[in-house]
């Protein structure tokens, strides 16, 4: 690339900067910016780095709590106290657009990025989760994307040796062409060993460690390079290639480095690479920073300062080392065959100074790029589509005659089927901590040397949010918490990924605000503060924006792993009970979508007080050892939840005989979705004790039937609606996803 001679209107525009923003840049600098500076401003003031549209809305999230050690936004990830002197560090991030272009590398580099965020805080990553959304599985491109994305997450997580312990896989035509790929990473660190992402202490040395810098990802920053000059280039790749092996070396070396106490701070070079890592660490440390980019290791020849500063090559880190400890640091890097180059130092003052050998390439006040970046209060209006889609007249929905075959059809819906084709491609056991493998409501990883374990769940429902963003946002949090409760964990805190369309569209921004408000409300009520997350706007395809899709990653704590609870039925003769009651609705249900091809209606209403009481009751019952299984009612309604209780344990399928005393339409009874409900099983001798807890917490408990036999039978007032052999249910559910990939 060549430097353009002059910065003109077009150049400013392709950098995604408005005229006002450009005026502001001139004001800050007191002069015209040069090309490199223009690039630096454009990436630091981009939505991705500055959160210029979302910041004011995100302030609605509760971020404080007794156990919150690092609050959202303070560092690369938040941290929660989990006792015994340990903190859990966790965060979720999206890599939607890169995955749409190159699914394998896009998803893999997404995993790589979030893993770096965790270990740069000094935490050893112990689990990954992936929350994935694609268009219809019947479409070849969607299958290609699914295969590539799963392959990419697997390639990265397996190689680096962090178990991918769970996730979500959801299909809906709204995601056609714009898949959502959100990856969560959880790490553990001694509380007093948390490392800050800050550059402090005049004269401390800035090290560049890891892969060399190429032109990859340049286009991803704001535009494609060829629009800049008339010269024709070979097509420059925007696609970043991952190197999990390099990251494994970085992971081990940095943790060793932290142990040796030579580190002042560190940050990975993620979005906006060298630029954001240097500027953000300096900003947090209230320092200046000076680097010489002629010292930056490069993969390609002839790179200009602009390219070096904006490259998004993967697996690179910035480490600030104490003055005088450079040799000690170098030794550790060398042990791990890593190339570490000192490229600059922390300075007093507030200037971000970039030199290229003897020349000054850029000089900008640090805070102008961070805390003083522009923030906008975007306009919002209630979308017009809402009134139309919320009206659901059940008389337009024909009641199927053969409920048995509809039941099987539901079980083989891509959104209901077993996701083992996905999670068996992930090493979910490495680390020998995964005590609840994928397939349950939440994954559980133990903490060796203690009785404790951490539970994780990812949840979100774009359909609900499309129909009612506020309720949908609330539900995402509540469901994630409920999932964690079902395995016996107390919900502690959340991270999240907010996937939306274009924020300058007032209707999209309304969806965004309402979702956040709903989530915030639920977080407050359930006492699960937000420790961090990520906003992904511009998720659009030719048909328009994707359904508003906030994804919640919930962290829960199990005090004693002897009281781990699982979702499947265990003993013949156990009572099957429904804990809690929520109003059933077909609005936004999987049944309506999969069987009737409709996305309509009012999603289930969530009463947060009831929800809280329900979760408390369930946890108490688990801790007292009163129940043998717990599984929350979600996608597909009661019938699907019951089926899952019967077949989730492949080693030991269990039938059940259920009799429901309800008066609604049969499809509503079976497949209507509701909040605040958990199916539990218990021995009849525990029923009275259970009832006592239920009364104390003012929730409800209904006995629905008994575990046993080779069939799942569901009756309404003794009249059979469904009766199926569990073997058949199992086979249908288990093989439906892989059948799309068999040849």
């Amino acid at each position: 690339m060549k430097e353009p001679v002059k910065i003109d209107k077009d150049l400013i525009k392709v950098h995604g900067l408005t005229d006002e923003e450009y005026e502001k840049i001139k004001e800050v600098l007191g002069r015209e910016p040069n090309f490199t500076e223009l690039g630096i401003f454009s990436v630091m003031w981009s939505e991705h780095c500055s959160y210029k549209s979302s910041k004011p809305v995100l302030r609605k999230f509760p971020t404080q709590g007794d156990n919150i050690l690092v609050r959202a936004g303070e560092e690369n990830a938040g941290a929660a106290d989990i006792g015994d002197g340990f903190a859990a560090v966790f965060k979720m991030e999206s890599h939607n657009h890169p995955s749409a272009i190159e699914p394998f590398q896009g998803a893999a580099t997404g995993a790589g990025g979030i893993i770096r965020d965790i270990f740069t805080m000094g935490a050893r990553p112990i689990a990954l989760m992936d929350s994935l959304r694609f268009g219809c599985l019947s479409d070849a491109r969607s299958r290609y994307l699914l295969k590539g994305v799963v392959g990419g997450v697997a390639f990265y997580g397996n190689c680096i040796g962090i178990p991918t312990v769970g996730g979500e896989t959801f299909f809906d035509k709204t995601y056609q062409g714009n898949p959502l790929v959100n990856v969560l990473c959880l790490g553990i660190v001694k509380k007093d060993k948390i490392v800050k992402a800050q550059a402090k202490g005049e004269g401390n040395t800035i090290f560049y460690v890891g892969s060399s810098t190429g032109r990859d990802g340049l286009g991803g920053a704001s535009f494609a390079s060829r629009e800049l000059t008339d010269e024709s280039h070979e097509d420059r790749p925007a696609v970043q290639i991952c190197d999990p092996f390099m990251e494994k070396l970085l992971l081990e070396a940095t943790l060793e480095l932290i142990e040796s106490a030579v580190v002042v701070g560190m940050q990975d070079m993620g979005a906006a690479g060298l630029t954001s890592s240097t500027v953000e660490t300096a900003s947090r440390g209230n320092s200046g920073i000076e680097i010489d980019i002629s010292l930056v290791p490069r993969r390609e020849e002839g790179m200009i300062p602009y390219e070096v500063m904006l490259s998004e090559s993967q697996e690179r880190m910035l480490v600030i080392v104490k003055k005088g400890k450079e040799e000690e640091a170098k030794k550790i890097f060398e042990k791990w065959d890593l190339h570490a180059a000192p490229i600059g130092r922390v300075t007093s003052g507030n200037s971000f100074l970039v030199k290229d050998g003897g020349k000054i390439a850029a000089e900008i006040p640090v805070k102008a790029l961070t805390t003083d970046a522009p923030v906008y209060l975007r306009e919002k209006t209630k979308p017009e589509y809402l009134d139309g889609v919320r009206n659901l007249d059940l008389s337009d929905v024909p009641l199927p005659e053969d409920l048995n075959s509809i039941f099987l059809k539901m079980l083989s819906s891509p959104n209901i089927v077993s996701k083992s084709w996905v999670f068996e491609q992930y090493d979910h056991m490495v680390g020998t901590n995964t005590i609840l493998l994928p397939g349950a409501d939440a994954a559980v990883v133990r903490m060796k040397g203690t009785k404790k374990a951490l539970a994780l769940s990812c949840d979100g429902n774009g359909r609900y949010c499309y129909l009612d963003p506020y309720e949908g946002g609330k539900i995402a949090v509540a469901e994630a918490a409920r999932n964690v409760v079902c395995v016996g964990a107390k919900p502690l805190a959340i991270t999240n990924c907010l996937n939306f369309g274009t924020p300058t569209d007032p209707e999209i921004f309304w969806q965004f605000s309402r979702c956040v408000e709903g989530m915030a409300e639920a977080c407050k009520e359930l006492k699960t503060p937000v420790t961090g997350g990520n906003v992904s706007f511009y998720n659009e395809n030719p048909q328009g924006a994707v359904d508003p899709t906030p994804v919640v990653g919930m962290l829960g704590l199990i005090e004693d792993i002897d009281y781990l609870c699982t979702p499947w039925f265990k003993k013949e003769g156990d009572l099957v009970c429904l804990l809690g009651e929520g109003e059933k609705s077909l609005g936004g249900s999987e049944y309506l979508y999969h069987v009737h091809n409709l996305k309509k209606g009012q999603p289930p209403k969530l009463n947060l007080h009831l929800e809280k009481a329900l979760q408390k009751t369930c946890l108490e019952a688990i801790k007292k050892g009163l129940i043998n299984s717990a599984h929350d009612v979600s996608d597909g309604g009661l019938a699907i939840t019951l089926a899952e209780c019967c077949i989730l344990n492949e080693e030991n399928l269990m039938g059940a005989d259920i009799n429901l005393k309800e008066s609604e339409r049969e499809d509503v009874i079976l497949f209507g979705e509701a909040e605040s409900q958990i199916i539990i099983s218990c021995s009849s001798s525990n029923l009275n004790k259970l009832k006592k807890i239920v009364r104390e917490n003012k929730v409800t408990l209904k006995v629905l039937g008994r575990v046993g036999g080779e069939k799942l039978t569901i009756k309404k007032e003794e009249k059979p609606l469904i009766s199926q052999s569990i073997q058949e249910l199992y086979t249908t559910w288990k093989n439906s996803l892989s059948s799309y990939f068999e040849m």
């Binding site: 272009i101 190159e102 590398q105 892969s211 190429g214 032109r215 990859d216 070979e234 097509d235 420059r236 790749p237 696609v239 970043q240 290639i241 991952c242 190197d243 092996f245 390099m246 993969r299 390609e300 090559s313 993967q314 065959d337």
Partner: protein, 83 residues
């Protein structure tokens, strides 16, 4: 009948960590003077066709549609008639 050999490479500028690691290994085993190492794929296939031009057309099409990932890869091929 044709025998086709297809050579698939990473595009110029696309990082090749595998190549870099192999180079590093060769260096440290003690091989001298190793410059850049690039990794790629090598496919061989038989085409039961007679018209070379048609064969070429089909090969191009197959490469662009499935054999090659055009986002990050380039390809070249050789085609040879066999009896």
């Amino acid at each position: 009948m044709f025998k086709v050999k297809i050579y698939i490479n990473l595009k110029e500028g696309v990082a090749d960590p595998q190549g870099a690691t192999i180079k590093h290994a060769l260096d440290s085993i003690g091989y001298q003077k190793i410059g850049k190492v690039k990794t790629g794929k090598y496919l061989q296939l038989e085409l039961d066709m007679h018209d070379k031009n048609k064969a070429r057309e089909q090969i191009e099409d197959m490469c662009q549609k499935i054999l090659v990932n055009p986002v990050i890869e380039n390809y070249e091929y050789q085609i040879e008639e066999i009896k």
